[in-house]
């Protein structure tokens, strides 16, 4: 009868429902995918909706979103709003591209490694800049994040030289045994390095966030920095570290676009993915696993759009189909408002007396 107890039951019920719905969705998708591959149903609409092609594309579209959302989680869980994911991602893409183009003479693996490293460093620098502006100079974190986007867009456009050429990208490699699993082996276990890295980071971060000392402290300083401070934890130091690492993660999303997906840099090539990552972070309730789910959903919207346009099966004007990923984002965010919970101390500067 007590009010707090009802809330308690409510919270855990929501959690249970979420888990149940997630598993159910996974099973449904799996069954449909198998049907699409193994039965004649796959020749029709089901093939377009759940075929190997669309699912592979989903994962490709999801990877930058996963990196972006993880970046957001890292920053926001420690209390720094990161609206600049788009900028960090773009800077990472550009950083990767420049090094890739200039190390074209080196063996491909080495060149790719250096390009990835460059993206990480550029992203970390962006993250550090964001931390510096928001913590040391107490800039409004939304403004600081926006400034990062403007900075990355401006600099990459200004410095970009279309004559630079990047040759070669991360090739797909099949993971032994796992890639032999019918249907899913080809979707999940025959990919490029950065895709595997994105998936691995989800699980690593999920574990670290809830099972490590760093995770406990990160969550505490994002919720109640003063409580952490009174227990002797250096709030701002962890915020610097997490925001810097967050920048690096977002940049990997950009690196993926250049080094694994497209193979080239284009002005403004992130095309709003940073913002969709932000939506994925919120929809995933600031949890890595949740962000994975949300990114996959948004990735699917994009894949479906692509598939529908290619197959030409509908008479709906293509402009409407192109809206699909964005409409999905809006609808999902509207539906989720009030159900997720942001870290309580997000966006507040922490100062000791």
């Amino acid at each position: 009868m007590a009010a707090p107890t009802t809330t308690a039951a409510g919270t855990s019920r929501v959690k249970r429902t979420t888990r149940w719905v997630s598993w159910a969705l996974i099973v449904v998708v799996a069954v449909l995918a198998i049907l699409a591959e193994t039965t004649p149903l796959g020749d029709g609409a089901l093939g377009i909706l759940m075929g190997k092609g669309v699912l592979r594309y989903t994962l490709r579209a999801a990877v930058p979103l996963i990196f972006g959302a993880l970046s957001g989680i890292l920053c926001e869980r420690s209390g720094i709003i990161n609206i600049g994911i788009e900028g960090m991602m773009l800077a990472g893409a550009f950083g990767a591209f420049v090094v890739k183009a200039f190390t074209g003479g080196l063996p491909l693996p080495l060149s790719l490694f250096l390009a990835t490293l460059s993206a990480i460093l550029v992203g970390a620098a962006m993250g550090y800049l964001h931390a510096l502006l928001s913590i040391r100079f107490r800039m409004n974190q939304i403004i600081s994040g926006t400034a990062l986007i403007v900075l990355a867009t401006g600099l990459s456009t200004y410095l970009f030289n279309p004559d630079w050429l990047s040759r070669g990208k991360f090739a797909d490699f099949a993971i032994p045994l796992l890639s032999r699993i019918p249907v899913f082996g080809e979707i999940l276990f025959t990919n490029g390095f950065l895709t595997y890295l994105a998936l691995a980071m989800v699980f690593v971060l999920q574990f670290l966030l809830f099972r490590s000392r760093w995770g406990l402290r990160t969550r505490a300083i994002g919720e109640h920095p003063r409580a952490a401070d009174t227990m002797g934890i250096n709030v701002n130091r962890w915020r610097y570290i997490n925001t810097t690492l967050g920048g690096a993660l977002a940049a990997l999303g950009g690196a993926f676009l250049v080094l694994e997906a497209v193979g080239q840099f284009k002005e403004g090539m992130t095309a709003g993915r940073g913002f969709i990552s932000l939506a994925a972070m919120i929809f995933g309730n600031w949890n890595p696993l949740g962000a994975l789910g949300a990114s996959t959903l948004f990735g699917y919207a994009q894949a479906l759009q692509n598939q529908l346009l290619l197959s030409g099966v509908t008479r709906v004007p293509r402009f409407f189909i192109s809206m699909l990923p964005y409409v999905t984002t809006i609808v999902v965010l509207v539906g989720v408002v009030g159900r997720t919970r942001a870290p309580a101390a997000e966006g507040e500067v922490y100062e000791t007396e």
């Binding site: 809330t7 099972r211 490590s212 000392r213 227990m231």
Partner: protein, 509 residues
Amino acid sequence: MTGIVLEARNITKTFPGVVANDSVSLTLHKGEILALLGENGAGKSTLMNVVYGLYHPDDGEVYVDGQRVHLSSPRDAIALGIGMVHQHFQLVQPMTVTENILLGAEITHAGTPFLDLKAGRERVMQLSELYGLAVDPDAIIEQIPVGVQQRVEILKALYRNARILILDEPTAVLTPQEIEDLFHVMRDLATAGHSIIFITHKLREVLDVSHRIVAMRAGRVVGEATPEESTQASLAEMMVGRKVILQVPKGPAHPEKVVLDVRELSTHAERAGVALRDVNLQVRAGEILGVAGVQGNGQTELVESITGLRHILSGSILLNGVDVSRWTPRQRTYAGMAYIPEDRHRFGMIGAYSVAENLVLNTYHREPFARHGVRVDEAISAHAEHLVASYDIRTPDVQTPAGSLSGGNQQKMVVARELGREIGVLVASQPTRGVDVGSIEFIHQQIVAQRDRGVAVLLVSAELDEILTLSDRIAVIYEGEIIATVDGPTATREQIGLLMAGVRSQDLR
């Protein structure tokens, strides 16, 4: 009692504009419960934050076990065995009890940065049993009662091997029964050799639990006493610096017709709040109805529903027989409703505005303060001069920004604005929170005076003493419901205390 475990010598700490501690010295013995008594703003918390390493003093030294120590952060204080339970709990709401206790001193699997939550949980249970502080190690903080949250805070300190415990206003959010439990724990801890500094402004508690009493006023230590040689009156005098009337003179009430009639009122539960369920209240002209309850049991929701700051789900609010439950706050103000909000800084005043402007916040757009949409400064100033004089608001002049006044004078300003016009009903929520004793006396007198003029008064307070002193009838609110209404003059602390804890008794009517 042997040995001095903690000593502060000549601590001075200034904040812009105020000297919070002016050469303050204090000693604490092993096994002692020392009450640090003083009004809000006397400098108690500042001194303790210095001892805990949160503030850096401008001058003065701290000694632990006779050794001079430098406390640059709480980490240093913790290492020296000092633990502090803050007035506002320092708990991370969505995390578990165990996670909160471990935070900052985590138990990890040997040689790794990975938490050993199982070992941590066991340690928490062990401490919990050892000191009789019952907690569920797996419970989420925001889902457990405040009394239990406080136990978690104490366990946090004990987990870090604190020998010196600082409890900052620990009783403010507890029911009388929970306070008894806390005192029990404090005595046990002292017997076991822990030393405790107990910060409070509540005289009864000081006499109840402490071994020694030190009083502070305006940043200085102004007196020391033992409970044996003290009375509430002598302590109040020491704390305030003059004789204090603890009991407002008040004659019997002469209630007349019902002015405020709340019927079957229900609201939604918002985050960190409770829902009101079928609340019924009648307040008559010429009586004070006190609403007692532990903070966070629906008082805010009730007051905001009545004043029009919150949407209601169902039910009605009648003012002189007219349903006003869909009216705007301004309409209700015109209809004779006055409101003293619980948080004056957020809802009662605008700090950057002058005293004169604050005094017309609810009438600035009406004659004589405005004409054709333009303010009439002369009328506003004259009005302010009048209220400042009759409500004894200490301010350099009426153009002074309200934010620069002391807490007591800010509150008197709010009271002056609300009571300085013809009203029919007064909704007063925590009208004396964070206010000095002198101002409390004055505000209490004003509330009683309004009653005697025939105003219906709804007084909401978490301070049981305030409720018992002023109320003609007392309604007890518990988790969004009025669980009993009792006669004021005959009510006892124990009876109300049990009701506040949700113990319903059929024979209490």
